[in-house]
């Protein structure tokens, strides 16, 4: 009984700003509270970034909206928690967020030691370097002796150490707690080089005083598969996240887009019919309606649309599909079939 009382008192104490409780069945919790709590970055254009009105946009954000749409049929039934690199895993472990969609690199130790599961890869990335164009440097191998700015608490810090050691080069590392501070210091000329995931470099370049005066070097020194993360031990929830992502890939492969999703429901192609729920009972198996994927795609579009809208060639980031193209077009994005 003391435990109950203590929890009650604790509850009274935290009532002020609201404590959330998470149980084993995340889906039930999410349905009960009526929205998905999604952990995102504190501001990375193209992936998760708030605008002046506080509206979030980006690839990671769209994945969360897709999840909300698949569950509730409403892409706005999602709340975003900005997390620093340091806080992100604790926040997920403690149940503060239901899913972490925060350009997080899938590594073995994170997958196996932290009690977390990676539900897929929504962006294949790699670590790169950005320097000033007027330095006349064309390869990362010419960077011996350079000062390098980066974020602390990420894999980038370790990768850059490995790379410089392997190539027998000297360097000075200046590691900041927050991405904004890294950009500010690099912009102020504290460092010659800014290193992080290449997508991040393109994104952060927009925040520099003169984006045109900086370029990204061609070398990629690491594999950085970025994807959504969930807690271990809730397979149903894990499956939902995994398959919302897979549905967007399958949709692109099958030519289903945000605009034509309704007419495609009448398609004769059995693969499309299974995807959109006109055939089979795939939704019920993961605790959702059968048209879960149709709702998600209607809200956020297929993977190609998500990519082009947020980071693609027509955006300010201007990143090409590269390895993120579908497998059928020579890329790495490959989703298991819905069957």
């Amino acid at each position: 009984m003391t435990k109950t009382v203590l929890t009650g008192v604790l509850g009274a104490a935290v009532l002020a700003l609201g404590a959330s409780t998470a149980s084993a069945a995340t889906l039930d919790d999410v349905k009960a509270k009526g929205f998905v709590q999604c952990g995102v970055s504190q501001g990375l254009p193209g992936f998760s970034n708030p605008d002046a009105d506080g509206e979030w946009s980006g690839m990671d954000v769209d994945l969360c909206r897709g999840i909300a749409a698949a569950i509730f049929g409403d892409a706005t039934a999602v709340k975003f928690t900005p997390l620093s690199a340091k806080e992100r895993f604790t926040a997920l472990q403690s149940g503060e967020v239901d899913v972490l969609s925060r350009n997080t690199t899938w590594t073995m130790s994170r997958d196996t030691q932290l009690g977390l599961n990676f539900a897929g890869v929504n962006y294949y990335d790699g670590q790169g370097f950005m320097i000033r164009t007027d330095m006349n440097i064309n390869s990362a191998l010419e960077l011996s002796g350079a000062s390098i700015c980066t974020n602390t608490g990420t894999t980038t810090e370790l990768n850059v150490a490995d790379y410089f050691r392997a190539n027998n080069m000297e360097y000075e590392l200046v590691a900041f707690e927050k991405a904004d501070e890294v950009v500010a210091a690099y912009d102020a000329g504290r460092c010659d080089v800014y290193t992080t995931d290449q997508s991040g470099l393109y994104a952060q370049r927009l925040k520099l005083t003169d984006p045109g005066a900086h370029k990204v070097l061609p070398e990629i020194i690491s594999k950085e598969p970025l994807g959504p993360v969930v807690r271990q031990g809730d397979d149903q929830w894990f499956n939902i996240i995994k398959w919302v992502h897979n549905a967007t890939l399958n949709a692109e492969e099958l030519g289903v887009t945000m605009d034509n999703v309704e007419e495609m429901k009448e398609s004769d192609n059995p693969a499309i019919r299974r995807l959109l729920g006109t055939e089979g009972e795939f939704g019920t198996d993961i605790g959702l309606d059968n048209d879960w994927a149709a709702k998600a795609i209607a809200a956020i579009g297929n993977y190609g649309e998500i990519f082009d809208r947020n980071v693609g060639p027509d955006t300010e980031l201007a990143i090409g599909r590269g390895v993120n193209a579908l497998w059928s077009q020579g890329g790495l994005q490959y989703a298991p079939p819905i069957r």
Partner: protein
Amino acid sequence: MIDRTNVTAPPENTGPATAFVRGEMLAEQPAPITESGPIGWIRTNLFPSVPQAILTLFCLYILYLIVPSIIRFLFVDAVWTGTDRTVCATEVQGGVRAPGWFGACWAYVGTYTNQFIYGRYPDEEQWRVNIAGFLFFGGLIPLLIPSVPFKRENLIFMVLIVPVATLILLTGGNFEVGGMILPLAILTAIALIAVFGFSKGAQSDPIPGLITTAAIFAGIFIVLGVLAVDFGLERVETEDWGGLLVTMVIAVTGIAASLPLGIALALGRRSDLPIVKFVSVVFIEFWRGVPLITVLFMSSVMLPLFLPEGVSFDKLLRALIGVALFSSAYMAEVVRGGLQALPKGQYEGAMALGLNWGQMTRMIILPQALKLVIPGIVNTFIGLFKDTTLVLIIGLFDFLGTIQSSYTDPTWSSPVQSMTGYSFAAIVYFIFCYAMSRYSMFMERQLDTSHRS
């Protein structure tokens, strides 16, 4: 000569022997020009001796180096209107200013003022913040002015009504409290039984104690009930709070929570009971011995681990807990200073009257001690107000954090942006802290005279 003899009055005194004696006072003359007026002032205050003159010239040189460039940056060369970065950048940087221009970009501060105050709090809901602020300052200011009457009513308003009203206004109210009714009811029962048993054991009348206890719990239930009411306000998550709002929330909550805790700790530290004293000393010395930033890291990273599985705290609340624990240790030392300053006779007098410890503390000691330490409390608050900036390191957006995060907006990014933002922050913090420190000195003088008379 003749003139003087003419004016000299009593004739009997006139004679050759005393002719040289002045018969009347000389009219008052102005002091020599070198000793009075601006020149005399300059002589005595700036150039009394050669080393002093050198020092004065040196200081003037320093002023000459600093002041004009600051004024140029803040006012003369500053840009007051504009819609984007071009007005605040030189031609080379893609703007309209002449090369070498270096001035503050107030236009950028102007467009961001709303965000600096409210953070990302929704525009259409900001009236709630305004009302909360109005309630708070409206209650605080009369409390701070010693001559305003109705202090007791004012205090009750500040302690009971303002916190609940502010909480509901800022978050939106309509809290889920159902789960708390049962544990709280059990707790009420336990408390009532304990009080009853204790009074029986002490052979005193249990009724007053029971009434007090019941009243306290009834109060808690009423507050819970009010919090559960749906006022139709839209819920605003603390993630959307920011700017000056967060700074004020952290500083005020921190000081409000640390005051009772600090008093308890200070009393505990002066207690005769060894365990109580030991616990208080360890608690106080621990929090005073570690930097606030490690405390904030602890509360943001470790607090979730201490809680039962499934319970998690809001991020702002976690920071608040850290700040409250930290500042309560400092508050305890301030209060202890007040307790120690009371003459021993006060304690002895109270005991001679037959008051027990609780009555003595409540009616004799604390009212005097707390009055003595008002300046100390204000100083602690100034320190806390400045220390709230540290929460930006754990990713909350307080006033400084909001300013810093606005630097990433490409619309306004220019080389002068960060200097402008920091200057603005410095001015705002300075105004707040300077005003508070003046108030603290004013109270010190007030209390000083009342003590001597």
